[in-house]
Symmetry: C2
Amino acid sequence: MNPPARRTGRPRSAEADRAILDATRAALVELGWSKVSMGDVAARAGVAKTTLYRRWANKNELVVDAVAAVFDEGLELPDLGCLQADIEAVVLSFARLLALPETRTALMAVVAESTRDPALRDRIRTAIVDRQKRLVLVGRERAQERGELPREQDPETAARTADLIFDMIAGAVVHRVLVSAEPVDTEWARGFTALLLHGLAAGLTLAPSGARPPRND
Amino acid sequence: MNPPARRTGRPRSAEADRAILDATRAALVELGWSKVSMGDVAARAGVAKTTLYRRWANKNELVVDAVAAVFDEGLELPDLGCLQADIEAVVLSFARLLALPETRTALMAVVAESTRDPALRDRIRTAIVDRQKRLVLVGRERAQERGELPREQDPETAARTADLIFDMIAGAVVHRVLVSAEPVDTEWARGFTALLLHGLAAGLTLAPSGARPPRND
DNA sequence: GCAGTTACGCTACGACTCGTAGCGAAAGAG
DNA sequence: CTCTTTCGCTACGAGTCGTAGCGTAACTGC
């Protein structure tokens, strides 16, 4: 279904594909989402504007793929042998990508657009969101193998829980970086993870565990 | 400091102000962020386009004020006498406003724009974000008076903790509604609040409370 | 080698939006 | 009554969108 029947005719230039995505990313860095135009991207990529429209229906779809490429090559879940360390690491990794000028300006813009465009929403989901969510599933699996988290009997409950965890982790990082516009540093990641794991009622004041004074590094 | 010396000349029509904001909101509902134009809003409001530009520099600033008006009249923190109930209520209240078509399509769009526009970022902060954050501060104060949360000695740590809580609550709800595009119902709010209060390590399965014992080892 | 098919670069186009300028008229302040 | 500012209106240049048409380039199957 994917590569249907495209045996005949001149094949599409893979080089143009890369050039366009790279140009899109560069244009986002330099101009920001709202001032990036298809004509500008085409000029940067050294291709004709019609070549863009043969591949992507509009700016939204193009930018989604450009952003997805950034996350694809940068987001990973290290196996540090401990749930807390794993979460902290993925939080920092996610925040680092989110703080890049191109993702910073583009990700929320396409998400906003997707509220009115189901096709765009699906593209964002498959190209970006679902791949992020996989990290939560992998992380939970590891934690369960280590005995840090209980195994769930009901798969439906398990799925709901994973969705909740994902919304909490991704949502908090996105909100911190894009709305509050404050950096996600080691200290924040540590406090966030501690709260996620142990909750408010534990009486935490969220001072870094071990009660070291809140001095900077 | 605000708009101080405007004693002379024809005063601005307060009626036009309301008409423009209402028209903006209606246009957002009908067309969505990207297809709302200043000319369209002016026509809906029954005013000239130049009248809009006398009050707002561009579409972003106008939409921020229109969205802020929605949150102003709809976001509240009920005092239910219990931290868990208070959080659940404010989560549901926030999610309800966020699910409106006008906020849904506009809020993340202006946030995305604000990454390249410091003036817009300040406007969003003062008109929307800071007022939301106040709910966190009020909620914590009440919980501390009830003895549900410990009082913090260090004001700086207290501020960082409040920022963290705010990013977690607002971020999770925003992500759930706008990115995952799933509804925030009572069940989700209860699971989220339980997790926020008690954390993962308590062995919760996030099944509706009372369902099963937390098989922790 | 040749025909068929598709991609490419290029140009041009209508439709739309932006933000501004200029005008005369309207509405208050002193 | 004069001064000042806002108002509605029209018009404008600049920019963008997405499409169409053209001749050429590249690759496939016969």
